[in-house]
């Protein structure tokens, strides 16, 4: 299996960060970067990375199942992650999440039929002082309100 040139370069950089014989250490970021490119961790991706690092596939599976950002299921093109942990919750994050469910017509863990959006309730994302906070893929949006969320979703609906 081939990845893009940038990803191959990233893989080499991750592996060369460790002393010889310690290549396995690159596993977690490799999985995440591969997922960013492919969309989700398919059996082929897992097999490929396992082979490159000479780690048994079942051990890679164990690692994949541990980390909450890693997924074997396809997500929407825009993965909406709403923090409902305490600081955000105190400022209305749970209502924001309900609003998002209504607007998108999906529950957490689901993808809209057009594949554009998926929704996830997440734990603290390190934006507690500027909450309620959400991430769309890797982009932060602070001080969210239901109205701001509507505008954001509208923009993303139109995005090419």
């Amino acid at each position: 299996m081939r990845f893009s040139e940038q990803l191959e370069a990233k893989f080499n950089q991750l592996i060369s960060a460790f002393p010889p014989g310690r290549e396995r250490a690159a596993l977690v970021p490799m999985l995440l970067y591969a997922q960013d490119e492919v969309g989700h961790l398919t059996p082929e991706v897992i097999q490929e990375i396992a082979g490159r690092l000479r780690v048994p596939v079942h051990e890679v599976d164990e690692v994949v199942s541990y980390y909450s950002m890693l997924t074997r299921k396809p997500r929407g093109r825009y993965h909406i992650q709403i923090c409902t942990n305490i600081s955000c919750m105190l400022l209305g994050a749970e209502q924001l999440l309900e609003h998002a469910k209504q607007r998108l017509g999906i529950d957490c863990g689901e993808v809209t039929p057009d594949g554009r959006f998926s929704l996830e309730e997440v734990e603290c994302i390190g934006a507690c002082c500027w909450g309620p906070a959400i991430q769309v893929n890797y982009d932060y949006h602070h001080w969210m309100t239901p109205e701001k969320l509507d505008r954001l979703l509208e923009e993303l609906r139109k995005a090419q």
């Binding site: 977690v28 970067y33 980390y67 305490i86 600081s87 390190g126 500027w130």
Partner: protein, 439 residues
């Protein structure tokens, strides 16, 4: 690049670690060098490793990741004479709910972190350093990688640093979503490409850390304090704070205040003043109800307990912890049962499942508190919550179990009437509670 400030600074701040925040191009090495950057490292190159560690000890710097362990002492545990390679590891996992300061330190002033790592490397003889950064902070990896590239170009990293023969290489390393990977031994497992399951200790990372080699592992903010300590002397840093609690600290004030934000204040700054004078007071003129002083793992303080200096020892004396600096402010409208449920849900989700008291304890706490919140719990279930907490405390493999049990027990004990008011009334018909399952 000039990152924007997320909140207005306060005139009460004492800006040591954040002094470059808001400067034009604060991320670039030119700005860093023009404002005294890497001078501390040059000074450290003239010092012996022992002298560096003595200076850090004199600063009374205590770990900013949560536990508050004296940093100089920790560095002193690293066996420098060991033939094994040594490592410097930065804990940039920043997962404690209520905490968002390490992010700013890396975003605004990445070179300060690199300089702190370099001085640590010099003190213990490490040749490689890793910044383990939570996966959600992807944009910071780009910022840090750029800064690392600049440091190589200017000779501050590499195989012959500034012509001295010192060798040190720094790499960024992404996590992939796990609170537990902020716990130091789980972090090391993750950094080795495994599940983030904690290790039995001792041995501690100082003697057997990454790849079982001696490792200095500290929080981002801890490393960021090092350049100021070496530049101005440990004594000067210590003098900013209170006895045994040197320096300033970044407090993340969130929740029901008018001006939430990250503020750098001297250790020992009064908590009430922090809320009212720094963060603009409780929003909408409401009354203060309670504060979690150091991130969600810390016992809650009632409003009347909040007139206290914010340093590790004073907060411990008040029955809570200074923790990671996440000050979560709750006003009189806050539903304490809901907050307790949310905290339980978090720890249940993040428990790695390795040890039984934590895995089962957090699951039951969430289950019981949810039932109380829904008004379907029997009175005995509230006592069971406290009993489960008591049975978890000190009995889990890593401190995550304590981190769940301590705040929850404190919420139930300090706001017991609110929980009792939610218990099932004997005469009201309700669905069979035992048929309800928490998702």
């Amino acid at each position: 690049m000039s990152p924007r400030l997320y909140n207005e600074p306060s005139p009460l701040e004492v800006k040591i670690l954040t002094r470059r925040f808001g400067l034009p191009n604060s991320q670039s090495i030119d700005t860093y060098l023009a404002t005294g950057g890497y001078e501390a490292f040059r000074k450290a190159l003239e010092m012996t490793p022992e002298e560096i560690i003595e200076e850090v000890k004199a600063s009374n710097l205590r770990g900013r990741g949560g536990a508050g362990f004296p940093t100089g002492m920790k560095w002193g545990f690293v066996p420098r004479e060991s033939p094994l390679p040594k490592y410097v590891v930065v804990n940039a996992d920043e997962g404690e709910p209520g905490t968002c300061k390490d992010r700013l330190l890396m975003e605004h002033d990445p070179h300060q972190l690199l300089e702190g790592m370099l001085i640590a490397a010099r003190a213990v003889g490490a040749e490689r350093g890793y910044i383990y950064i939570r996966g959600e902070y992807r944009y910071l990896i780009e910022i840090l990688d750029r800064a690392i590239g600049e440091a190589y170009e200017r000779g501050f990293l590499g195989d012959n640093i500034l012509g001295t023969g010192m060798r040190f290489h720094v790499y960024t390393h992404s996590g992939a979503g796990s609170y537990e990977c902020g716990e130091e031994s789980a972090l090391l497992e993750s950094l080795e490409g495994k599940r983030g399951v904690p290790r039995i200790r001792p041995p501690f990372p100082a003697t057997a850390g990454l790849f079982q080699c001696p490792t200095v592992l500290n929080n981002v903010e801890t490393f960021c304090a090092i350049p100021a300590i070496i530049r101005d002397g440990g004594k000067a840093f210590a003098a900013l704070g209170t006895p045994r609690n040197g320096g300033t600290r970044l407090f993340c004030i969130s929740g029901h205040v008018n001006r939430p934000g990250v503020y750098e204040l001297p250790m020992g700054f009064n908590l009430l003043r922090m809320i009212h004078e720094v963060a603009g007071g409780v929003r909408d003129g409401r009354k203060l109800k309670a504060v979690i002083p150091g991130g969600s793992s810390c016992p809650v303080l009632k409003a009347e307990e909040c007139d206290l200096p914010m340093d590790f020892d004073s907060v411990a004396q008040a029955g809570s912890m200074l923790g990671s600096g996440g000050v979560v402010v709750m006003d009189e409208t806050t539903d304490m049962v809901r907050v307790a449920v949310r905290i339980a849900k978090f720890y249940q989700h993040e428990s790695c499942g390795w040890c039984v008291p934590c895995r089962e304890g957090t699951t039951w706490l969430r289950h019981l508190l949810t039932r109380i919140d829904q008004g379907i719990a029997k009175p005995s279930e509230l006592d069971l919550v406290v009993e489960i907490c008591n049975n978890m405390l000190g009995r889990t493999f890593c401190p995550l179990g304590d981190a769940a049990a301590m705040p929850i027990r404190s919420f139930v004990m300090k706001f017991r009437e609110e929980f009792e008011a939610r218990l099932r009334r004997p005469m009201v018909a309700v669905p069979d509670p035992d048929s309800l399952v928490v998702s």
